[in-house]
Symmetry: C2
Amino acid sequence: MAETKVRFGILGCANIARKVSRAMKLAPNCAITAIGSRSIEKASQFAAENEFPASAKVYGSYDAVLDDPDVEAVYIPLPTSLHLRWAVLAAEKKKHVLLEKPVALNVKELDTILEACESNGVQYMDATMWMHHPRTAKMREFLSDPQRFGQLKSVHSIFSYVGGPEFLKDDIRIKPDLDALGALGDTGWYCTRAILWANEYELPKTVTALPEPEYNEAGVILSCGALLRWTDGKTATFYCSFLTNLTMDITALGTNGYLCVHDFVIPFQENGAPFYEASNSRFANLAIGIEPVPSEHAIDTDLPQEALMVQVFANLVAGINEKGASPEKKWPTISRKTQLVIDAVMASIEKDFEPVEVVP
Amino acid sequence: MAETKVRFGILGCANIARKVSRAMKLAPNCAITAIGSRSIEKASQFAAENEFPASAKVYGSYDAVLDDPDVEAVYIPLPTSLHLRWAVLAAEKKKHVLLEKPVALNVKELDTILEACESNGVQYMDATMWMHHPRTAKMREFLSDPQRFGQLKSVHSIFSYVGGPEFLKDDIRIKPDLDALGALGDTGWYCTRAILWANEYELPKTVTALPEPEYNEAGVILSCGALLRWTDGKTATFYCSFLTNLTMDITALGTNGYLCVHDFVIPFQENGAPFYEASNSRFANLAIGIEPVPSEHAIDTDLPQEALMVQVFANLVAGINEKGASPEKKWPTISRKTQLVIDAVMASIEKDFEPVEVVP
C-alpha cells in the first residue's frame, strides 16, 4: 500500500522554495498541494517552472493557501519580517509549520510563533536541512564517543559566501525591513546551530560578539563573528559573512578526538558527504609526522538532506493528523535556543562587544 | 666542489634536538661540530644515540660550546627561561643563533637577545620549521593572489596536542620556572605566527584573550585562545592547548578565496604536504552543491622542513662569515612580532580579558 502523503502548501515563490519543492517531490510521503503568491501569475509561473503536479492549486494570496482545507502543512520561505504574521496565522488555521530560517527577528517573535503552534497542536520545525543528513547523525555519534572523542573543549564554525554586487544591492537578506539580521540571521544561523549541536544543545553561559561587524549602508550586518562560552570552560567561535568565499566548516576539538567537516550546510555532493576524524593522535618518533592521521568517512544518502527534512517533518505531521500523536518538542526547542544565541550576539554588538548572558 | 658546511654547536639534549640534529645531517650545508650538556655523560649518550659524526665534540657545559672556535652557529633548544642568558652569551661570542621557540618569556627579554645579535653582527632566527616548507611559499602565493584569494578577512588557527599524564606532570613546557608561557608559548606560538604570516606580518591593532584559559596547579596555561583585530576590520582567532587531540589547522578566508591546511606545524608526511584551496565558489543551480569544490594541492619536498630550516639559516651564516653579508632582518622582525602578540594575549588574560593594544 502506498504511503499516505502529507499535503503541503507553499507560501511565496522564494528562490529557496525551488529546492524545497523539489525535495517534496523526492520525498515519498510529501505532496505539493498548493502554492500562493501575492501575484497569481508569479505563482503559476513558479509552479510551471518547477514542474508542480497538475493537481497543485495556485493562489494569488497566502491567505488562500491557509484557507484551503486540503492543505495540512505549510512551508514558509517568506522574508523573516513576515514570519510572525504568517506562521501564527498558519498555526491558527491548524496548518503545521515548516519555517525557513532565520525563523524570526528575535526570540520574542519566535515565542509568539511557538505558542501559536503549541496551542493549536501543530508541528513546528525550522528548515535547517543539514540536521537531517545521515552524516550529521554519524558525526554526532563520533562526538558522543568517550573513547574516540572524549570531552568537547572547543568548536569553530564558519559559514560564508560571496553575495556579489546584485545580491548586495537587492537581495532580501540585506534589507533592514525584510531580513534585519543580515548575515547573522542567514549564515550565522547555521554556525550557531552547529555549535549548539556539537554541545548537545547546552546553551552557552555568555556570548560575546567579535569586533567589528561589517554593515551595508542600511545598517544590515554583512559579516560578523562571536565567541560563546560555557561555565565548564568550553568555548566556541564562529564567523559568518556575505563577503568571503563560500565556506561551510565545523571544527570540533575533544580531549581524545578531532572532527572536521567542510560542507556541513550543503554537501558538495548530493548523494554522499564526508567528514574527517582523528582519535588519540600522537606525534610519531622524532616528531616527524603523526599517528594516526585524520581519516575520511563518506556517508551515502539516497535522498538529499532537504528531502529527508521534509520527510521527517511529514512523518511528524502524519503522526499527529492520523494517529493523534503530540507534536515533537525537540524542533521548537532547538530552534528557540538557536534564536536565543543569535539575539545574544545582536545584544553584544549593541553593547559594544560586551559579554551578554544567555537567559533561557 | 663540495659546499662549505656551517659548523653548528648544540646547547643541551632536549628532545627536539634529536629532530634538529637529524636535520643538520640531512642539510647539505650543515655540520654538527659540538654538543654541550650540563652532564658530559648525557651529551655523549645523546651524540651516540643520534649518530653524530665521530668528529663532533662533546662538552660538559654550554660555555664550552660557546668557547669552541670551530663553532660558527648554535642551536639553542633550552627551556625558555634560559634563552636570555645563553642566546645573549652566544651572540657575544660571535656565534649565530638559531633559537627554539618560544624564544623568550616576553618581548623585553627578546629585545635584549636581538640587540646582542645585532650588535655582534650575528644572524638570529627562531626555529619555526613550517616557515621553510615549500608548501608555505605556495600557500603564501595563493593568499597574495588578488583574483584567486582577494582581500583577507578572517583567519582561524588551532594547534593542540594531548600532553598526557606524564607530560602534564613533568614536561618543561608546564613548569613555571622553565616555560612560564605554557601552551601559549608552545602551541600558541605557531597559531600566532600563522595568523601574522597570513596577514603579511601586519600587527593587529588589539588582542583579546578568550575566556577561560585552563591552568595547571602551578598556574601555567594548558589551553587558551585569543581574538586578534586589525584596524581595517580583519579578525583572527586561535585556540591552543595541551588538552585536546593533536590538531594543526589554519583556515583563511578572503573575498574571493578559501585556504585550509590541516598539518601546518608538522606535515603528516615528510616528503610532501597538501593544502586545500577554493576560489570564487558559488552555489550550484538550486543550491544543491557548490562549484568549484575546494581542491587539494600537494607540495613535494626532498628535504623535510626542519632540514630546509637549518639550510636557510646556514646559508645566511655562510653569507655573513664568508662574504661579509649583513644578517637578514626578516627573521628577528617576525620573531619579535610573534612575541608581541603572545605578550598581548598574556596582558589581556591578566586584565580580565580586556582588549590590549599591540604597540610595536
